[in-house]
């Protein structure tokens, strides 16, 4: 691993290192001192205190949600494309028949615990009925909270 060098070369290398060594260490210290005395460079965000001004990007893939207005009207026709697109079966579309005999959405069961937030369901939906919301504060202590039903009203369409 170490080849033999002559004494003169050793001495020359030793003396050269006496100069370059400490100089390189001083260069390293200069970077650290520059960052220490420069509080403008601090990148930490104080999280719960800055919630009011915190805004996620609009494409952020948080939780899945169904686009509904106040009365609960949505665009879902229970076609099941999202259920087939999901890589790990986090969606169950339970269809029912309405009074006219047409197939409509009964319950849209969403297993948030196993969802990987990949967004393939949103991409697969031909009607634009679902979207990924920017909600990221979704931690909970009760696992039953994670089995969600996304549509408000059953049996409409």
């Amino acid at each position: 691993m170490q080849k033999k060098i002559s004494t003169l070369q050793y001495i020359k290398r030793y003396l050269k290192r006496c100069i370059t060594g400490p100089w390189s260490l001083i260069c390293g210290l200069s970077v650290t001192l520059k960052y220490f005395f420069n509080p403008k460079r601090i990148v930490t965000e104080q999280y719960p205190e800055n919630r009011k001004t915190l805004k996620m990007h609009e494409r952020f893939r948080g939780r899945l949600e169904m686009i509904e207005d106040e009365e609960g009207n949505n665009h879902c026709t229970a076609c099941g494309m999202c259920e087939r697109a999901c890589p790990n079966a986090s969606i169950n579309v339970l269809a029912t028949k309405n009074i006219a005999g047409k197939k409509v959405l009964g319950r849209y069961v969403y297993h948030f615990a196993s969802c990987t937030q990949c967004g393939l369901c949103v991409e697969a939906c031909p009607f634009g009925a679902i979207q990924m919301s920017p909600a990221f504060e979704v931690a909970t202590t009760d696992p039953n909270d994670l089995e969600m039903i996304l549509n408000k009203k059953e049996g409409q369409g």
Partner: protein, 378 residues
């Protein structure tokens, strides 16, 4: 010395000194993932090393047999998670060969820009882990601080910081928003200043030089024999970069150098990645100047591959990442997808590199090989 030898050891009975086994187990601060290394040591010197994988095996290739192609793209993020965006491209290029679709120019520019951003992100993790494993924990924070800017950009474009799931056959899932190009320009300026600081911090530091020059030498023949690729191969003197040897996307239209070093030791592997960051910044500058208007995706078709075998290889930050898709029926699901990750040969070559060195050198060598264990285990 226990009589239960860990598997894979061939113990010679001739030496008088007592050798002992140390286990750098799956939980260790500096093995880059869940990797178990069993070391046979003579004092502080390592005589032999046997790595054991499989701690993070998730059965991705088996799962791929029952998933559609699009779902596999979402899963490929989780292989080399430090540059998920590059893994997506590897799979998508293989699918495009099967579906025989092209990508419009703007789509290709988006691809190149995101690829280079991913490459810089991965090399920043390398910088952080290199300094951090050597003992200067400040470096770890420095590397990740700049990576946050890249994550922000990726989140704005793809919707997620890490598991991007962005590229599709024919282009990408969305177009880039209007704020993307200004952000990239600001990032480029910031990065060039910061890289000067970071290089001054580590590159000529005498302790770093002492600890990495001459350590872990991988000769040219060994590198080729083990199948190493990427920065590890180029640091040993072989001028092979998939972007030049087998160009994909529009890399042949950009002017960039491929840095090659000849000593094959740890310091060269460090220098080559710093040089690659600079080259990526150069490519990004050219992209930002020439960014075209137009469609970002060719016409959206259902992802169905005809019967056949399709292979693509790309140059990720770690090395040569290849995807091999076997479609036995024309349909939405493959028969088999195999991924060739670049970190497996590097870990295989670790035994050769580490003989006769000490534990501290093992940590340095692992840091410069920059493996990602989930990519090996899948």
């Amino acid at each position: 010395m226990s009589h239960q030898l860990p598997p894979g050891f061939r113990l010679e009975r001739k030496s008088n000194t007592e050798e002992f086994f140390i286990n750098m187990g799956p939980q260790h601060p500096s093995t880059h993932g869940a990797l178990r290394l069993t070391l046979r040591m003579d004092g502080e010197t390592i005589v032999e090393l046997v790595p054991h994988f499989g701690y993070i095996h998730r059965g991705m290739e088996k799962q791929a047999e029952s998933m559609s192609y699009l779902q596999y793209i979402a899963m490929s993020d989780r292989q080399d998670y430090l540059t998920a965006i590059q893994n997506n491209l590897g799979v998508v290029i293989a699918l495009e060969k099967g579906m025989n679709v092209g990508v419009p120019l703007r789509g290709e520019y988006i691809r190149v820009m995101l690829q280079e951003l991913g490459r810089i992100a991965s090399h920043l993790v390398f910088y952080g882990c290199f300094g951090g494993d050597l003992g200067g924990q400040t470096c770890l924070l420095f590397g990740f601080k700049e990576r946050e800017m890249i994550h922000d950009m990726l989140e704005e474009v793809t919707g997620s910081r890490l598991t991007t799931n962005f590229f599709r056959p024919g282009g990408s899932r969305y177009d880039v928003p209007d704020t993307f190009i200004p952000r990239v320009k600001a990032f480029l300026d910031h990065m060039e200043d910061t890289m000067k600081d970071y290089e001054r911090f580590l590159s000529k530091n005498i302790i770093v030089l002492e600890r990495s020059i001459g350590i872990g030498v991988l000769s040219k023949e060994d590198a080729i024999a083990y199948g190493c690729s990427g920065p590890v191969l180029r640091a040993s003197g072989v001028n092979f970069d998939v972007r030049r040897a087998n160009p994909y996307s529009i890399y042949d239209q950009f002017d960039f150098d491929v840095p090659v070093f000849h000593n094959g030791d740890c310091y060269d592997r460090y220098q080559i990645r710093i040089a690659e960051i600079h080259q990526s910044l150069k490519i990004l500058r050219q992209c930002v100047e020439k960014f075209p208007e137009g469609p970002w995706r060719s016409k959206e078709k259902p992802v169905r591959l005809p019967v056949g075998r399709y292979y693509s290889e790309i140059e990720t930050a770690k090395g040569l990442y290849a995807t091999y898709v076997v479609a036995a029926t024309t349909g939405e699901k493959p028969y088999r997808i195999h991924t060739r990750g670049p970190s497996f040969p590097h870990i295989a070559a670790l035994n050769k590199m580490v003989q006769g060195h000490k534990i501290s050198d093992l940590v340095t060598i692992m840091a410069t090989l920059d493996p990602v264990i989930p990519e090996i285990d899948r």
